[in-house]
């Protein structure tokens, strides 16, 4: 099975890296869409269905946190699993993003196999994950 994935990140270099990692690690990718922020992503999702979303947090216009909130409010989009990719490895931030509906969380720096594993885990079991507590 191959997947349609949306990458949301304001860094073109980071989007290129994530796409390359998915392709080179053997992840079955049928389509890969890109957006520079949450607003662009929501616009794209009006016309394109995706199996998974990989999103940054710190972005201009509409950041990752607001993006997840908006996703959860859209009936057609709330079931699309989103994985957060962020430099913020603090438990508080992770917990908050998972509470907002993220199904996975990958901290930068990560190794290619880490991203692939998180993608596959999320796509195989796209249900909510337990929110860690301090």
């Amino acid at each position: 099975m191959s997947y349609r994935v949306l990458i949301v990140d304001d860094s073109p270099a980071m989007r290129t890296f994530i796409r390359r990692v998915m392709e080179s690690s053997g992840f079955e990718l049928s389509s890969c869409f890109e957006a520079g922020n949450g607003e662009e992503a929501l616009a794209l999702l009006q016309t394109e269905w995706v199996d998974a979303i990989l999103t940054d947090i710190n972005m201009p216009v509409l950041d990752g946190e607001e993006f997840l909130k908006r996703l959860s409010e859209e009936d057609m989009l709330s079931s699309v699993p989103a994985i957060v990719i962020s430099t913020d490895a603090t438990k508080h931030r992770m917990g908050r993003m998972l509470a907002l509906g993220a199904r996975g969380y990958v901290t930068k720096p990560f190794r290619p196999e880490d991203l692939r594993a998180e993608l596959e885990r999320t796509l195989e079991a796209p249900h909510a994950v337990e929110v860690p507590h301090d």
Binding site: A13, N58, T107, P109
Partner: protein, 149 residues
């Protein structure tokens, strides 16, 4: 956190970040006679200990690291792409260090940007490595509250 612990966190962050996402190995301390840094990126942060992290490197190292990150030949990488990658590198190193320094406090990082290659400010915690294509140096400046070693 002591300055020594902060310096170790900075060193670990450089090694891990370069290895995991830039496919670049750190080859030990830089040659003191080597070329000085020519490019720099910087990210500021807020919190109980606000400050900024600056990454400086030679143009050759920057091009090599950008090419590795993007999976392209060095000759095909544009200056804009190099700048974008250097900003992402500063962002990652900064996030890695602060996640270990700040405890449970969420990170509040500004947008990384390319800056002039001025040397580190007095009191900054620094760490430099040889990448095989030139030196890479990171300098972390935080508003005191660092216990002396």
């Amino acid at each position: 956190m002591t300055e020594a612990a902060l310096r170790k966190a900075l060193a670990d962050s450089i090694v891990e970040t370069l290895d995991a996402m830039f496919f670049t190995s750190c080859l030990g301390e830089p040659d003191p006679e080597g070329a000085p840094p020519e490019m720099a990126s910087q990210v500021s942060f807020e919190g109980t200990r606000p400050g900024r992290l600056t990454v400086r490197m030679t143009a050759r190292a920057a091009r090599s690291i950008a090419a590795n990150f993007l999976g392209e030949d060095e000759d095909d990488v544009s200056d804009r792409q190099i700048g974008d990658v250097l900003c992402e590198l500063a962002n990652m190193i900064c996030g890695f260090v602060l996640s270990r320094v700040e405890g449970a406090e969420e990170l509040r990082l500004g947008a990384p940007r390319i800056v002039e290659t001025a040397g580190p400010a007095p009191g900054a915690v620094t760490h430099a490595v040889e990448t095989g294509c030139g030196v890479l140096e990171a300098a972390l400046e935080m508003e005191d509250r660092i216990c002396p070693p």
